[in-house]
Symmetry: C2
Subunit: 233 residues, 2 copies
């Protein structure tokens, strides 16, 4: 049975990397001592080594050993054999492009579907969606497709931001952008605020963390979903 944690962000304001999630991750990865880390999203253009080091130091606190996928020659096999998988945030276009280039989309999906526990943050959560189209990132590379893993039957907008009624900025609000998506697409979208995550057990998707989330369905007004509630598609 598939098991995923899909977090809006790795880091919340005033707290260290993954700090707010560590108690949850300790229980989520119970019995899994080795984590395969995928650093391909390269936040701020950081190197794979530097990114893996940050992740490794965070997971040391809950006695989990982290190895970067870039250190394996056979990356497909590394995924298949992984005890647990974490795909970190950064630029979603860069991440998806690299997963396609290395031919890892299918093996990653199959491995997660077969029950290897998966953690995603930000771009890493986005790719568990049906498509990467709810990314906030800039298209700095051109991936072969926007189709992603489809581990959940919806799209995630990470780092969801509410419209600011005092703003003088005329760029589109997040809500406007998501509504524009629904002009062309039917996939429901969850706007996950920082500090929220989805916990997936088989076909059940439950909102976790202390906040509500914004739920967008084509041709309907968006609503708020309460924390600890399953999401009904």
């Amino acid at each position: 049975m598939k098991k995923l944690i899909l977090a809006s962000t790795s880091t919340i304001y005033g707290s260290g990397y993954l700090e707010y999630l560590l108690p949850t991750l300790k229980s989520f990865f119970k019995g899994h001592k080795n984590l395969l880390f995928v650093p391909y999203a390269r936040p701020s253009g950081i190197s794979y080594e530097a990114y893996t080091k940050i992740v490794s130091e965070a997971f040391k606190k809950i006695d989990i050993n982290v190895v970067g996928i870039h250190t394996f020659n056979d990356k497909q096999k590394a995924i298949e054999k992984a005890d647990g998988i974490f795909v970190g945030g950064g630029n979603t276009f860069v991440l998806v492009n690299e997963l396609y280039n290395q031919d890892l989309i299918e093996v990653l999906k199959n491995t997660i579907d077969n029950g290897t526990p998966y953690l995603g943050t930000s771009a890493g959560s986005n790719i568990a969606s049906l498509t990467m189209q709810m990314t906030n990132d800039m298209p700095i590379v051109y991936p072969p497709s926007y189709k992603t893993l489809g581990c959940i039957p919806l799209n995630i907008n990470a780092h969801y931001l509410d419209p600011d009624p005092t703003s003088k900025h005329k760029g589109e609000t997040r809500e406007t952008r998501i509504k524009e998506f629904h002009t062309y697409n039917k996939i429901p979208v969850i706007g996950l605020r920082e500090g929220s995550w989805l916990q997936v057990d088989g076909n059940e998707v439950v909102l976790k963390g202390g906040l509500t989330a914004r739920w967008f369905v084509k041709d309907k007004e968006p609503i708020e979903i309460e924390t600890n509630h399953p999401i009904v598609i």
Copy 2:
């Protein structure tokens, strides 16, 4: 000689559609009484007709007649014969996708290069760049390429926003996103704040409006460019 106005936004806070630009546009389009409008970017999913009506009402104030490109059977010919061209804002992915689908990229570039005056706002400015990669929009459709008109030898980031030092949000700042672009690309980028525009006369590109703009070159610290100064590539 090519002549373009490439504005960060159509609308500034507390002002009507195009209102702040109308005096500039009156002089820019002097002697050009008919404007071909390209509504393909569809802000908020608005219809071509509704979008063209908004634009038409704004240009009435400076005695310019507006016709939407969607009303022509032969759209290539409509561009070639246009007295002036305006491509409005909205979603850049949708705009670029439609320009490719209708095979209008090349004819649009050639017509602008041959001297037909061109106005772009937001997405319409973005596409005058070498590539659309500095868009802030979501990839709600998958265009065949990110390559755009290349009327100027740089990329525009419209609606440029400075980092907010009081923000508790952990999503990437605009500056971080542009620096990530330069991990993979060499094209210089101008961050155009709302109320700024570029005036292009032949090969000269000058910053206009009351504000400075942010200038990003790969492997260099970003700098501020003063208004009324030509941009040196």
